[in-house]
Point group: D2
Chain length 370, copies 4
């Protein structure tokens, strides 16, 4: 604890570091959406004559430059700034003087963070849907290709009925449709504009929330300012529930794959560059990729619960720890996207054990006529 006994400045740094946490890292990802929301906000402020049209254009020119910097990886939130908002504000003031401050009229960091997160989630969920659709198509192709390759169907992990690889691949394809439904649900909930709700109790300025709703391409306006604030946590939880549904599909698929790659089942294999081996056991083809997708997806399934633990029993109104939803939300979106990509890439390379058609069939028929 010597740390704390040092001079004031150092002490505050440690507290700052504690309160900021990983916000700078996450905000680098969210900053683009913060700028987009600010552009819409500034346009609206001009529309209702809180700032002039000329002022709005100047502000938005700078914001657009920041967006370009972000896209080119040049936007950095240094340790002097606690988050994206303070860094963007700093740039605006540096370039525009007092005008830079005007963008903060009639809004609060609370609705700014909310709208950034929602725009981010909207974009990411759409990307995930594309990846799912890509995987769906591959599975349908595989299903057609291996339509008549027989495998046993199991109940209670006991041989039960003859089944086929066609049925197996297309079962997972059809299951992905359910996951898309859940993603659409999250998209629906997230697609309500919170901008203008300020700190949760609105603003006295005569703002036009329908205007920002339209500019930001939200389908709906979250009317009640306190409801907008209360959607913090709920949005993250419903998004993570949808991701959890998709994750459970991938996890189960990987469990099947790991089992079927084992020497006892021996139904399938994968090329060597997709498995890891052991120098002293050349027969081993470890399915590390599928084990890791399984594990990562299982961890994602627990994240809605993490949001519940964070927000349960908090009364209405903003609380600082709500910033901690950013981590599970952003990290799981990135993790799940990478799982989807690696899985899609790998599943195409699956090798169906042809001997299965004869030997395994024989076993099944033997068993069934036993």
């Amino acid at each position: 604890m010597k740390l704390w006994q040092e001079k004031n400045i150092k002490r505050n740094k440690i507290i700052d570091q504690f309160t900021v946490g990983k916000d700078r890292e996450y905000d680098t990802i969210l900053a683009k959406y913060d700028c987009e929301a600010s552009i819409a906000h500034s346009k609206m402020l001009a529309k209702v004559n809180i700032i002039s049209s000329n002022e709005s254009q100047k502000i938005n020119k700078v914001l657009n430059e920041i967006i370009i910097d972000i896209e080119e990886g040049k936007f950095i939130i240094e340790d002097d700034f606690e988050d994206m908002h303070s860094k963007i504000e700093f740039i605006l003031i540096k370039k525009l003087g007092d005008l830079g401050k005007k963008i903060h009229t009639a809004r609060s960091r609370n609705d700014q963070v909310l709208v950034s997160i929602q725009l981010f989630v909207k974009e990411e969920l759409k990307l995930i849907k594309k990846e799912v659709s890509n995987l769906f198509n591959k599975l349908i192709k595989l299903s057609k290709k291996h339509k008549s390759s027989i495998i046993p169907g199991y109940t209670h992990m006991q041989l039960a009925m003859p089944s086929s690889f066609g049925l197996w691949f297309s079962a997972y394809a059809e299951t992905l449709i359910d996951d898309i439904i859940s993603i659409n649900n999250a998209l629906y909930i997230v697609d309500q504009n919170p901008l203008g709700s300020a700190a949760g109790y609105g603003t006295c300025f005569p703002i036009d929330r329908k205007s920002t709703t339209k500019s930001l391409n939200f389908s709906e306006l979250k009317y009640n300012s306190l409801a907008a604030q209360m959607s913090r946590g709920k949005i993250e939880k419903q998004t993570l529930s949808a991701l959890s549904s998709l994750a459970s599909t991938l996890s189960k698929f990987c469990m099947d794959i790991c089992l079927y790659m084992g020497q006892d089942f021996n139904f399938i294999s994968f090329p060597e560059n997709l498995t890891t081996g052991s120098s002293i056991m050349p027969h081993k083809k470890n399915p590390d990729i599928f084990e890791l997708i399984r594990g990562k997806c299982n961890l994602i399934q627990g994240l809605p619960n993490q949001i519940s633990l964070l927000t349960t029993n908090l009364p209405s109104g903003y609380h600082r720890e709500m910033q901690l939803t950013k981590g599970p939300l952003i990290e799981s979106i990135y993790e799940l996207k990478s799982c989807l990509k690696i899985f899609s890439f790998s599943i195409e390379k699956i090798i169906i054990n042809k001997k299965l058609l004869t030997i395994q069939n024989m076993i099944i028929s033997l068993q069934l006529t036993h």
Copy 2:
């Protein structure tokens, strides 16, 4: 362990009791839907000429009689039967002889249970939506009535801005809309007919699954038989996720209420028949009802995770423990319905502390001009 050393018959009873668990209790609730599915199945079997039209009518007559028994509380699953299926089969055979067995053609208990659960969930989610809609209307009414009753708005649990009871009530009303969206998502996923998927690998009989889809009023058919089987767990989890969303709204509302009823806030109170007191502390008005709704709703929020724990890392195909999803699913639906009813009934009786309008306002203005 003496228990086990006794004779065979006793031993099997204990094992039976262990494997059956609370199934008889839950099945008494699901039996109606099982009969409805059987009626649709029998009609279809007649349509595709697996049984005769006359046979189908006889079977369905008995099934309709059982439904009436169920509705009148006369349907009992005695200890001799392990579940609703065996009891219903017993009645059919007792009344129709060998014909009673024919209903089991081209299906399995696996798709029977699935379809019963889905029909049950569909009906219950619609009832819950009605209750939510009822609560929504009451909140809008309360919001209008108390539109100009001022309360402080909090951020960080610190006095932040003036707010109103109108904003507070309508915030929860608008939040309920998000919960309805999630319930609709669950309804969408649950509204796919699994009947005919048999044990997960279909049947060789030339059944007409579109016919049962139509009779049972499902919007969609779950085409792939293994996908139907894999939806076990997913359906329960998405249903419980939707309930969890609604539960989190009620829980937060109750937390606000419990805080505001305290002597330090003292914003609201409730009539004595809705609070509990203490003989030695007459000032105390304990909000037991709201504490219990809060707690019950918090427990419901953990149930999607329980389903994840149960099903994670299980390969595809039926596993016996899937029967254990019935408990969390059925009990949480009943629990949440009772929470909704009690909450709706109680919230109307809320008493707004009128002094707040003057004193609390004064405090706020003092604070703000501090």
Copy 3:
């Protein structure tokens, strides 16, 4: 909602039912411990001269009679009583008149419930330890018996090394020791007397808490009355964490068993009275018992989280929903005990596939020299 529009009496019944919940059922189990705590309390009251020695003896005579009724299954909490405390109080007053009320001096229902739960948990955890010890011994016996029966050892679910049934059985035996350590931890935490903490803020009566600590055979006194109250939730969570540890051992064991019973592994089997079959598939030996133990144990693993969800973000002091910890606590103890018993009974009947010794060995050696 018509329900609620009826007359007052009916309405209150519904609210009563909601607030009482399953308390009567759980309290029938806890009542014995409540009486024991009351006996210790009454002796102490006599010791410090709050009541006379004669009064204490009269009260304790009735309490001992109630304990006998409880043990003989004759103690019933009728709908007129909301819990065990009110029923026991009723009996005491009926038999002793005003003297019956004196037992309530210097205590509250809060510390009464706490002490009952803690006494219950102490007794049950000791019973569970006995069952675990019993299972441990059986596993050691099986380990010795099958010491030289070879099975493959797996990593990544791939054949990795030769292993043996001896190693397998004794691995689970040794793992049970870790679970016992966790149970001992829970026992340690639970073994602190909360009686006398009253509602969480002590009492002005000059009570002698060390005396009840000794009578009730607690190792330690929970000194601070608010700390005693705050241990509600923590005690349940640590108990359930210990059970969760044991449950994870059983669950993994069952997963191994279910896999090894499958036709692809085919390492082990069980007698027919421990498996379920299918009339049309005589080869099938479904491991329902092990699947259900696996599932029940997986659900138990989620219960510490349920307690977290219930108690998280509640400020210090009693809250009514704390009564809702009784359900997960009591039910999981009973469930886990039955899992342990059934597992212990069944594992002895395991049949090791002798062919494995030759064929499987051959495969392994083939693989290793590949």
Copy 4:
């Protein structure tokens, strides 16, 4: 997906990145313990004459140099190495030639990782115990100092009884003792040497596991090699359960603090450098630090469940996703240590509202005599 269509080398990099994940980051923390275990292993190899005493000394000289590098922050795992093991092996071989490889005799990465994690957890839990002890002492001091400062005691969040800051501080102090008990439990479980269990099925080399147990200062040997492997997951879960217990204490403490700092309670405050304000609302003293500790501690409470989700239903033997336990384990230990430090530093600065002594007392007495 264009990414994948590029040449082989690039493709493998993406897969490598996916499988390695954050392992390099976590391994930089664990590397010290890996070296320590290797030193003990090398000594033992010399003792049983698998390598010479001279060889052992040469190996250990290099390992000790690596430890110094680690402590000075000079040890870096470059992208060419997938983990600490491969980097350390590389250094050994670079400096010692073929001799460097000999350290890998009679062990596997599986027991290497296990032993490193266990040594890390042992050291960290001891550090956490010191921090807890430090906090305990501060709370006892505060308890004595504010022994006669009256605050209300609440039940059901209703004013119930007079209480004191002395009782409040010492209640949390006494509760920390329960958390220490749980940490001791985790320490007990983690204090069993897994080194020598190899991949889970032992080794044919005549190793002396008692020797490494002694060198590494483990209290006990994990005898069964498969049990050692199965402790993966269990160790992390019991460690996280102990941290979760401590986290729940801190979280509840912070909830009390946040409530009591609000204008309605107004019992306590903190110096300005420990709160954040609002330029337009100077009265606001936002308790960000306490909100963030509350939130971070609530998230930690969910981590035992994350481990359950990861490991549930995995059969015995190593699975690759077990590497994913490193993240929750290491991050939560660091997070909780920083919460403890910040909390300990801050709680000392608490300011008790002196007016409370008169006004609040008055209110309480009014209420009680009402």
